[in-house]
């Protein structure tokens, strides 16, 4: 009985993934809940041009400050008469790609550093790890702010800054995992069979890094969205009239006394988005880490 799934796995690659996901959903419903929320956010970002009732940057002074549930404007309008719901939906198209690019920058650069450092060791490890230590010496947000301040405040530079901030996390994680993997017998066997370092890394090391890295990617995405919102709130990320949640809170805060929804709605969107990614990362870690499973 116990060998059957393995045989199926060997013959039909799609099968075990489906079984694994179903099993994961049954044993860890939080993964399904959080995964569903994240999927929904991606769908919103993807479909924003089709589901937005209005142009998110079209100014209509006659419609300014309409409260939520106004006819034609479910979440009301801002000080320039722009539809808040449309701006919220388009805001997801800013936050999610920023998080995606920033995490990709951190993952690729940090992952490469961690691989080289962990696999080759020696002087390369010593030098690269001191560099990572120096990056870690900066509080994350301060480093991101400093980079954006130097490069100039805009969304692209915010993405680069958040990506650079994420590098040390991946470098440390990947290095630690590679150091463990290097001691494993299958790596030694592969080496003794004459496999090149590149082949060992690509065929044997990287596939074994995927699970912990996926968990970290999910958690980093939450951080990246939070950091982008913070930079935009401070005026260092997305610039007007881009419909960005952090920037919308900044401008909405001015009208807190009479029109609180202008700041509260985008704030809730950021919180729900970051919460979804954090919950997904947390529950994936619980589900996939054998130590926590026991």
């Amino acid at each position: 009985m116990s060998t059957a799934p393995a045989l199926v796995a060997a013959e039909v690659p799609v099968g075990p993934a489906r079984v694994g996901l179903l099993e994961l959903g049954r044993t860890h419903p939080r993964v399904v809940l959080a995964g569903g929320l994240v999927l929904l956010l991606f769908l919103v970002a993807l479909l924003a041009p089709f589901i937005s009732p209005h142009d998110p940057i079209a100014v209509n002074a006659d419609n300014a400050y309409l409260p939520p549930l106004s006819p034609g404007h479910a979440l009301g309008t801002d000080e320039l008469g722009r539809d808040l719901l449309s701006r919220m939906l388009w805001g997801a198209r800013v936050s999610l790609p920023v998080a995606f690019v920033a995490v990709a920058v951190g993952l690729v650069a940090g992952g490469l550093i961690g691989l080289v450092s962990g696999y080759f060791g020696g002087v390369a490890d010593l030098l690269l790890m001191r560099l990572i230590d120096a990056l870690l010496a900066f509080p994350a947000l301060i480093l991101a702010i400093a980079i954006v301040a130097a490069l100039g405040p805009n969304l692209t530079n915010a993405m680069i800054a958040i990506g650079i901030v994420a590098i040390p996390v991946y470098a440390r994680l990947v290095r630690a995992l590679v150091l463990q993997l290097k001691q494993m017998e299958f790596i030694a066997a592969s080496r003794s069979l004459g496999a090149t370092p590149l082949r060992i890394v690509v065929r044997h090391v990287i596939p074994n890094l995927l699970t912990p890295v996926i968990v970290q990617v999910t958690l980093s995405a939450g951080f990246a969205i939070l950091a982008e919102a913070t930079l935009s709130f401070l005026g260092l990320g997305a610039q007007v009239p881009t419909p960005d949640w952090g920037q919308m809170i900044n401008s909405g805060a001015t009208f807190l006394e009479n029109d609180p929804w202008l700041a509260i709605v985008p704030g809730a969107a950021i919180s729900i988005t970051v919460f979804s990614f954090n919950l997904l990362g947390d529950s994936l870690r619980d589900a996939l880490d054998p130590r926590l499973r026991s």
Binding site: R130, L131, D133, A134, L135, A137, F138, P139, A140, L141, I142, L143, I145, A146, I147, A149, A150, L151, G152, P153, G222, L226, A229, T230, F233, L234, G235, L236, G246, I249, A253, L256, E257, P260, A263, I264, G267, I270, S271, V274, F275, N278, L279, D282
Partner: protein
């Protein structure tokens, strides 16, 4: 112990060196002539030449770095481009307000985290535990500027219990000082409270499974005594690590909170300086933030070993 301290200090040297290189390169990262960045609007050829001479920008980069490092070592972080005030003094004037806010935020975070983390651990799997876990994930997911805005909306705008923002020095009016600090401290300390609660919970669960806890119970000690006298003391050791790092990172959180509450601290100075393109001030604050973090890391390592005798210094 002395050997460990010396080794730990020696390890800090290359990192500190790289940090200074990074902070120095901050101005040089920007595209274009750093003198133009430092000058802002006043870009006359004379002013540009004066800045080039003052900063030695015509010299090789490593010479510029060594000269800058020499000045920093003597406490000279340069002068603010906008106010011409020495950066060290500009930071020193704002630091007490940030330290005060950070201290109250930390007290708030511990007052929330330790009791809730302990309850969640003692009643593991209960509704209280699930609520505490929810608060933990929520606390780190809600941006502190949004917490600040929600607090202002409810407690300042709607119920008029606290002022919108601003600062009153303690020696001028202690009551008003307290009224002004409560909301920003809650906004700043909530994420820390969530993290500390998580650490308290997991550490407490681990400690409660130890043999000496079972022995204490077997000897007839009440559950309350076991939890609060025997377990909590040891469970808080990992929390000390995190709290130490939070103290080192106060400036980071203060950047946003001080902006929301117009609190006249170092964080707000950083944001103002970025918009004024006052890069010497930004450079000084980044250097301060990085070194506070480095020193906090070092102290945490040392204190951790002192608190937990099982940790070897060998």
């Amino acid at each position: 112990m002395t050997t460990y301290v010396l080794r730990r200090l020696a390890l800090m040297v290359p990192v500190a060196f790289l940090v200074t290189v990074g902070v120095f390169m901050l101005i040089h990262l920007s595209p274009g002539d750093p003198a133009l960045i430092l000058l802002g609007e006043d870009r006359s050829p004379q002013a540009i030449a004066a800045i080039h001479q003052e900063l030695g920008l015509d010299k090789p980069l490593y010479v510029q770095y060594v000269t800058w490092l020499g000045r920093v070592a003597h406490g000279d972080l340069g002068r603010s481009v906008t106010t011409n005030q020495p950066v060290t003094i500009a930071i020193a004037e704002r630091l007490p307000a940030t330290a005060e806010l950070g201290a109250v935020a930390l007290i708030w975070s511990l007052l929330v985290a330790i009791p809730l983390g302990t309850i969640a651990a003692v009643r593991r799997g209960s509704l209280a535990d699930h609520i505490a876990t929810g608060i933990t994930v929520g606390g780190v997911s809600i941006p502190n500027f949004f917490i600040g805005i929600v607090l202002i909306f409810f407690l300042s705008v709607t119920f008029r219990l606290f002022p919108f923002g601003g600062y009153v020095p303690f020696n001028q009016d202690p009551v008003e000082n307290l009224r002004h600090i409560i909301l920003p401290a809650i906004a700043l300390g909530t994420a820390g409270a969530a993290i500390n609660m998580r650490f308290t919970r997991s550490s407490m669960i681990e400690v409660l499974n130890n043999d000496y806890i079972r022995t204490a119970r077997a000897k007839g000690a009440s559950w309350r005594r076991v939890v609060f006298i025997h377990a909590l003391k040891n469970a808080l050791i990992p929390v000390v690590t995190i709290v130490g790092l939070q103290i080192g990172g106060i400036i980071e959180g203060a950047v946003v909170t001080e902006t929301v509450f117009t609190w006249p601290g170092v964080g707000r100075l950083a944001v103002e300086s970025i918009f004024n393109r006052d890069y010497t001030v930004v450079q000084g604050i980044v250097l301060l933030a990085a070194f506070s973090y480095l020193v906090a890391n070092l102290l945490v390592d040392l204190v951790y070993g002192w608190l937990d005798p099982r940790i070897s210094y060998a």
